[in-house]
Symmetry: C2
């Protein structure tokens, strides 16, 4: 019905989210496909879920407090509270828990969902982004961490980044917990408070940080400060009390660093300040840090979270994983000119000197498409020159005209637009020519 | 921190949405990839957008009223009204309008977004589903409809459906409008009321439908009923007043049916009751209807909507497209056993008789992965028999053991699990063997 209302609608998207025009989607597909290929080589299977989750899923408050303060939460028409997932770990834990007995451990899963956070949009932070999530359930040994960190490194290499472009920072919650419990005699909430303070260390002035640390730790603050200021793993260990030098967390870090080196990974380093926000981490935590002078920042991270599945009534199950966002990844690749140039994917544009040949053009197009080759037909009735310009604008590879002479002599000139090279073919030879 | 709260969380997803476990995602990827391949052969470019849209986008009420009554709409933390998109057409119209001058017509675009509707979940209807949307902007001639309907038919064929499995029902809003205006002297809202009534005809009893039609049309009701009851296009035309037998809508339907037949499409039929819910359609509308006795229903449809872009202040632009949902598609394929069987994608599982060979196993795995082949390593320390069972459960193609003898003699037995066939290889021969 052509009596549409006379109002003017805005062409703007919702604030803080992205429209993916074909040139953007081309880059997005490059990112997703490169990630897919890499993680599937490690035997990881893809899963997915709806962005709509029952709000109760996030009720355990194991996530970073910021995540919970920034969710999109609303009540549906049936009175249920719904949340747009702010991260994927609760969802994957829910799904694995629901079928853990039939799935068979270990489980290697990945997904690249969109996740949502209500925050002020700024560089590297949007209200919706895509996030690779890989998780390994059922491996309690340190091999789990090795595999996950190795995979994180492989994803970076798959995008053309090299070991000297980034750093893999590694710490262990076991060390943090042991220090806070055995040296500082802290437990529960007090531990979390210190963990969060250290997590924000880089954002505070040195004086501010030390004041706050003193407030919580009193006379133990200087030792903790010395430990946090150590320049490397050996120096860090040297400051530990004798009884802790061989603690489980310490030996795990040693093994991880050694084994990663054996796998050819030269950029893994111990970093005692690394906490990662999430309270569910129980062992090794790690972070991939961009060393580029213009872009010094954490790109993504992960770690071991052995306790989460038991929240769903599933047996206690070891788990280790990481999440990698597309926005920061894209920025890191863009600043290094590592993103591919947009190429069209249409192989042939059929130009029509006269609409009376349209059925012949359509028939030719149909035959070529059956071979899986992309073809468009020009119905514009414009001059041939304009039809060619359109094909060029879309980065189409070849053009051909279908007109009186072509049909009469069964001879078609296939012209490659970039080189200008022409190839004369009979109609039946065209599909095979285009395919090769 | 291991002091997680002691509550039990539900493993249920939100009502009416789906969890995609790897076996479900495998089917989903088959659907998406088959669709992608088919529409890209027609030269369509992929775009995407966020499911979050400003509620104003749907304020024009051009959509089916049901869509607007069933949206997920809420207010964000900044006081903006946000809607989870219930369909993609407003989004693509918004995006195209925003860049129409630089994009260059015609525009061929597709996307496979998830869309949301709050309704009671039932077979074929969920609160979230994925929907292929293809749209051709800038072609005012009937070639636009031909291309779009041809593409819809090609998608069906790509899934193994044949012409006798389904019917392509075609009607024209121009005919409907001409009849209602010229014969029934109806305009505006009254036209919409009749269109909606005819749209719901199948859901009403014959008597109920005729009563309601009489209430609106009075003495014209019998003629309209005769037109609606006509068995084919010729009979329909025979009942039209002389002056309407050659109307634009009539000749367009003729051309569409003829041209589709020339393209080898044998199952396109005129259907004068077909309305499609959306008020923005302005010309040809069509629907793909499943003829299977157990599943007689509309699978999807589309049509011409020439007026929509002008709502965004863009020049009046011809447009034609369709939307195809994954849930109904999956049901139609499943009932015909046309869905593929799940296959794992891991090529090799490395079994470990003893964890002391783990570094050698990891090194071997790393080399194979560099070739893009999927490998998993077994850290379970279980008996070899159990390690093999795990590989079988995951439908892994080959297994190999890495132990003392293999390392000593550099001879590895690669066993294909399905056939039991073993191949003895030196380590360096393994990657190439697995790749072929």
């Amino acid at each position: 019905m052509s009596d549409l209302p006379k109002i003017k609608l805005s062409t703007d998207s919702y604030k803080g989210v992205r429209d993916f025009f074909p040139e953007d989607q081309f880059i997005q597909n490059y990112l997703l496909n490169t990630i897919r290929k890499t993680v599937e080589a490690f035997g990881y299977d893809e899963y997915n879920a709806s962005p709509l989750e029952p709000t109760e899923l996030y009720a355990s408050k194991t996530s970073d407090e910021i995540v919970n303060e920034q969710t999109y939460t609303f009540t549906d028409r049936g009175g249920r509270s719904v949340t747009l997932r702010p991260e994927m770990t609760p969802t994957v834990s829910r799904m694995v828990s629901s079928k853990i007995r039939e799935l068979g451990l270990p489980i290697r899963w990945y997904s690249i969902p969109n996740v949502f956070r209500y925050e002020q949009p700024q560089k590297g932070r949007l209200r919706e982004h895509y996030q690779l999530n890989v998780d390994l359930f059922g491996v309690s040994s340190i091999q789990g961490e090795i595999e996950i960190i190795n995979m994180a490194s492989s994803v970076m290499h798959a995008f053309g980044l090299e070991d000297n472009d980034f750093e893999i920072r590694i710490n262990s919650r076991k060390i943090v917990n042991a220090i806070l419990l055995d040296i500082c005699k802290l437990e529960g909430e007090a531990t979390k408070t210190v963990v969060r303070l250290i997590d924000k260390k880089e954002k505070l002035s040195k004086a501010d940080f030390e004041t706050k640390l003193s407030e919580i730790l009193g006379e133990k603050a200087p030792l903790i400060n010395t430990l946090l200021s150590s320049q490397n793993f050996d120096e860090f260990i040297s400051h530990l009390p004798e009884g802790m030098k061989a603690a489980e967390g310490i030996s795990e870090i040693k093994v991880v660093l050694e084994k990663l080196e054996k796998l050819g990974i030269t950029n893994a380093v111990f970093n005692q300040s690394l906490m990662r926000g999430f309270d569910y981490y129980t062992g090794i935590v790690f972070e991939v840090f961009d060393k580029s002078p213009e872009n010094r920042r954490a790109l993504f991270g992960g770690g071991r979270f052995d306790g989460l599945l038991s929240l769903f009534g599933a047996p206690q199950t070891p788990a280790v994983g990481f999440g990698m966002g597309d926005v920061t990844l894209r920025d890191a690749l863009e600043s290094r000119k590592l993103l591919p140039k947009y190429t069209g994917h249409t192989t042939l544009h059929i130009c029509l000197p006269d609409m009376k040949y349209i059925d012949d053009a359509e028939e030719l197009a149909q035959i070529i498409r059956e071979d899986g080759t992309a073809v468009t037909v020009d119905y514009s009735e414009k001059k041939i020159g304009d039809q060619i310009k359109y094909a060029e604008k879309r980065l189409t590879r070849y053009i051909v005209c279908v007109g009186e002479n072509e049909l009469k002599y069964d001879t078609y000139k296939i012209k490659e637009l970039k080189t200008g090279k022409e190839t004369e073919l009979a109609r039946e030879e065209i599909p095979a020519f285009l395919k090769n």
